[in-house]
Structures are given as C-alpha cells and as structure tokens.
Symmetry: D3
C-alpha cells in the first residue's frame, strides 16, 4: 500500500492543503486519499483545488454532484472511490432509496452502453 | 451497421413495445437503439420494461436520472449513448451550465479513480 | 487513420505472415487489422502466432471461441473488433438467435458487474 | 461492505425472489450478491427475472452462457463476478482446459482491442 | 457534435487561455478539444492550467510524458485523444519504432491485466 | 484465489519457462502471476515469450517501458499489475518524482479522455 503522510510529518505546503480541506469540509479528519497524494504536493494541491471548484454548489446541488461522483466510481469499479464518495453522499443526505435508484441507473447504463456497441447502432440524425 | 426494424415491418410483439415507448415518451418517434434491439424481441421488451421502471420519477427526479445516465455513458465513452441521453437530458431541462458541471465531475472522477488506484490508497476504516 | 501495408509493398517477413493468414483462414483476403500491424513486423508476427494458437480448435470449438472474442470486444466497445469478429463468428455459423443471446449476456454481465461493485458485495467464502 | 438481507429478515417480496432462486438453481443457498440487492427489492426482482430469462437454455447452452459471463467479468476485472461466475461455470462442467482457453481469449481480445484503437485501423468495407 | 468556440467569438476569459496555449505551444493553432471546452470557461482554464503543469519538463522529459498520454488514451480507446496525442508525440520526436514499441506494451499490459484478474492472482507479499 | 504451481511441482515445460524467467531477470524468485499462469503451460510460455520480446531494450529503454506498463495498469485499476509493475519500475530506477509525474499524467489523461467523449469533440483534420 502507498505511504500516507500524516499532518505532523507534512511540509508547510501540504499542511496548507490539509488545513483548507478541514476548513471547507468542516471536519478535523483527513482521509487516506489526500494523505497518499501528499507524496506529491503539486498533485495534492492541484487535485484539491480542482475538486473544491468542481464540487462547490452551482447549477447542480452538492448532493447531486456527489451522487454523480458515486455513479462514475461504481461504473469504473474503483473500491476506494465508491467507499469514500458513498460516505460523502450519505452525509449530504442521500437516502437508501436514492442510493438504490442511483445504482439501478448505473447498472442499466452499463448494460445499454454495450448493447448499443454490440448491435452497432448508428446515431440518429436527430441526435447529432 | 446493425439492421433496424421499422414499425411497418415489425411483429405484433415488437409493435406493442414501440407503442408503449411512444405512449410513455409522448412522441411519435422511435430512435435507432430500439429499432436495433427489435432484432431480438425478448431483449427489446426486457430492456424497455427495465428502463421504464428505472427512469420513472422516484426519490430522484427524471432530469437527475437522465444526467446520471449521461455521466456513465460519457465515462464509458459510448458515442451512441452520449448522443441520445444528452438529447434526452436537454429535453428534460438540462441547461448548458448543468451539462458543464456534469462533465467536470465525470472528468474529475475518472482522474481520482486512477490516482487512488495508482497510489494504492487503503480504504479508511471510517468508510467501511 | 493508420497506414496500411499492402502485400505488394510488404517485406518478405510481412509477406510470410500474410501467406500464413491466407493459408490458415483459407482466404485470399487480408483485413485491415493485419495491414496496420504490418507497420511493426515483430508485433504482426507475434500477434498472429498468438491468435493462431489461441483460436485453434481445443476444448472449446472455434465458433464458441469467436463468440467469446465478440463478447469481450462488445464489452470494451471496440468498433473495429466488434465488426471483424462478428463477421468471423457469422462465417463460423453464429445465427441471429445466438448473436441475440450473446448480446443479452454481455449487457447483463456489464450491469451486474457494476451492481456488485456499487453495493460492495463481499465475496462469499464458498467462492474463494 | 454493503448490508446483507438474510432470509429470516426479508420481506415477503424478497423471500419470494429468494425462493425462486432456490427453486431454479436447485439449491438451498443464496449468495451475497442477491442478499445485497435485496436492499432494493425492485432491483432484486428485476435483476433476477432478467438473469433467469437470459441464462436459460436457448441457442447457446447454459455452460457456454456462463463462460461468456466469466469472460466479460474477467475483462471488466470485477472480483465478485469472476469468483461467482467461475464457480457457477465449474458447476456446469467447465474443465481446467476450458477455463484456460477462455482466459487466453479474454487476454488476447483485450490486447487486440487496444492495438486496433492505437493503430486507428479503419473498418474494412466487407465488415460494414 | 459539440459546438466549437472560435477565437473571434470568444470571451476575454477564453481568449486569454487560447493566447496562453498558443504561447506555450508556439503555434497559431487551437485544436478542437479546447474550442469545445470553451463552452465552459472554468473547465477550459482549469484543464489547461493542469495540463500545462503536468506536461512541463520534469523528472520525465516531454516526449516520454506525451507517449504515456498516448498509452492511456489507446488503452481507453479514445479516438480523439489517440489522434491528438499521437500527433503531439510525433512532433516531439516519437519515431515509428518508438510508436510500435509503445503499442506493443499497451496491448500486452491490457492482456496481462485481465489474466491476473481472471486467474485471481494474489499479490505477492514482496509487492505490498 | 487461483492455485499456484511451485517449481518443485511443475512439469519440465513449466520449469523451462521458470528457469528462463530467472535467467533473464537475474533473480531466484518467481512471482505469483507466473505461478498462476502455469496452470496453462501454453499460455505461460506464450505470455512470457511475448513479455520478454516486448520489454527488451529497444527504441525505448527498459525503465520507460516498465513505466508505460504501470500507466496502463493504473488506468485499468488492476491491483496485481499496479503492485508488480511499480515494484519492477522501482527496481529499474523509477524515483518518487518520476512516479508522481507518471500518476499525474495517468489521472489527467483519464480526465480529458472523458471530456473529449462527453463534449463529442470532432477530430481535427490535421490529426487524421
């Protein structure tokens, strides 16, 4: 497993990102993903700044954004990302029913994506 | 490209599905995906019944459901599904800004899915 | 698009592979995949030798082998491979009904692969 | 890990699906996949009905169908699905030699899928 | 196809990114990827800034970086990205022989990734 | 988990491959991947011969080749392959900084692969 950088062992550059994560997420806890990325402070900072920008409230609300993140992670079968973003979505209000509907769509989309490929369906002019 | 079954050439079993698609979607138009699946009436019927059930209003509203479908299709890089479900989401009210935010999340999730894999990040006990 | 090496422009090394493809497949025709690989004679030879070994009759018959190739190619959404291996499977006897059943399984497997990931299903001890 | 619904804690709706799984598969045992899906009875029922229909004997025999399921699951690198469907295929008669040939094709198809993409091979008119 | 924003129709914010792309790449030409992203100026700017940072000379030289980009794009079978990053790698000095070796590795890695999954190979303690 | 074939239990055919692996890699140790493939001596031999050919020094040096293997494995999220090829790359001289830059590219390529798909970016004529 990858090495994790704890706050007390972190450089000022890494600590600044950890502090911002804590402030934005209103928590005292840094999860392993960031502690692993901290092995490369440039990627840590870039990734956090990007996530912060992308996941902020916008035309889509934060819960919906988090559920879209879960959808992609489940589709990609990424165990860490499924675990962490499902937890985040739960915290933002995702109910059992919402999770169930989300998974049903992810499963179905993966099915029809392959059916359209295997049957070599030509894109309708109306969709171009 | 796969053969497409037009309404006038379809069996009563296939026509019944086409009629239901038209009724549920309040349209006179059947897109190529269904016309290709009609080569296998059992799969046509099963897929349509599943989609109808999954995409119906529930804890998630139809627009959000359609956008999740787009997210998975873009992540899987399925040209037909991206084209058809983006069109469907637009029809249900997806604005340019919503689409932009959706794509930003899909891109970012695909990035962090690989970072967590490459850095072999152990799942936090809190997420189990 | 990639450059294609025609027989008349090919080196003796490449021609030897083309000749073997023609002999094994009992055809006079070389499809584009091999003409593209011929840009790298080592990969052309290695890939053809591997394919010839793997696709030869064994515990699984050639038609079943070709259909498994189609299944993977449709799952991966590879347009060239779907087109070429579906044609090859048809030539070896795949009927419309067999193709329909194949696609139904490919679609369903892609769906349940994601459901098991998203629901984070623990592997049963009986399956280990 | 996801919560698993045991028979004794299941609703009548879920029990009915479990009973049907047991009857069709002639077993007393329900594997974790279904116990996890039981968190969403609608998806449990829909998925089981679909699987039952798709995996029934047809133009392809049940062993071949199960091996195609294994092929897709291995290609998608889904640990749960590889474990469960390999076990199911073994039960239906898959020998070591058949499994070996299956894996060889899955590996090779994944290789040539990428070669055809990377070399940007144009689809031959004969395959259209 | 997605709408493309030309320089003359672009907002000052988008023009500033286009100008920086031209300056860094020492070219007068903006390729379609950026013109499409310009529909979302925030994603355009964030993506360009990230790419600029990541692809700059570092411990890996720019050609090697570009070839890694091609490797991932070919593995993901992304037609646009294969075309654009192969062209970029050629410009930075990738020879036919280097491309051939790159593709051979991409193909082989995709094969052994699936073999290790299908055979359910346990990670050696030495690799942990 | 799959059965592993140890040297002392191996057939002469398998032992010959193990011996060659040891000679080429100048080690006494065979990792689990090969011990699992040894269940199918034909695939063991073919895969090793292919890997030996592909990973030998050429226009690309062995370290770069190994890092490309890591890039594909991380992109495919294959735990075994990430672990084994990262170890191999480290042994061939990959520094922390090189690994960090590699992961940054893998992440970014996965992001822009999806953005180009989702925005349906048309390939520029210059790239064809």
């Amino acid at each position: 497993m990858g090495k994790l950088i704890e706050y007390e062992d972190a450089s000022p550059e890494v600590r600044a990102v950890y502090d911002d994560i804590k402030a934005v997420r209103q928590t005292d806890w840094i999860n392993n993903f960031w502690k692993a990325l901290a092995n490369d402070p440039a990627t840590l900072k870039r990734t956090w700044e990007s996530i912060k920008q992308i996941m902020a409230p916008g035309a889509l609300d934060p819960l919906m954004k988090e559920m879209i993140y879960v959808a992609v992670s489940a589709s990609n079968q990424c165990p860490y990302c499924i675990a962490s973003h499902t937890a985040a979505a739960r915290k933002k209000g995702m109910t059992d029913q919402m999770f169930a509907e989300l998974m049903a769509i992810v499963g179905m989309a993966n099915e029809t994506n392959r059916l359209s490929a295997g049957y070599r369906v030509e894109i309708d002019p109306q969709f171009r």
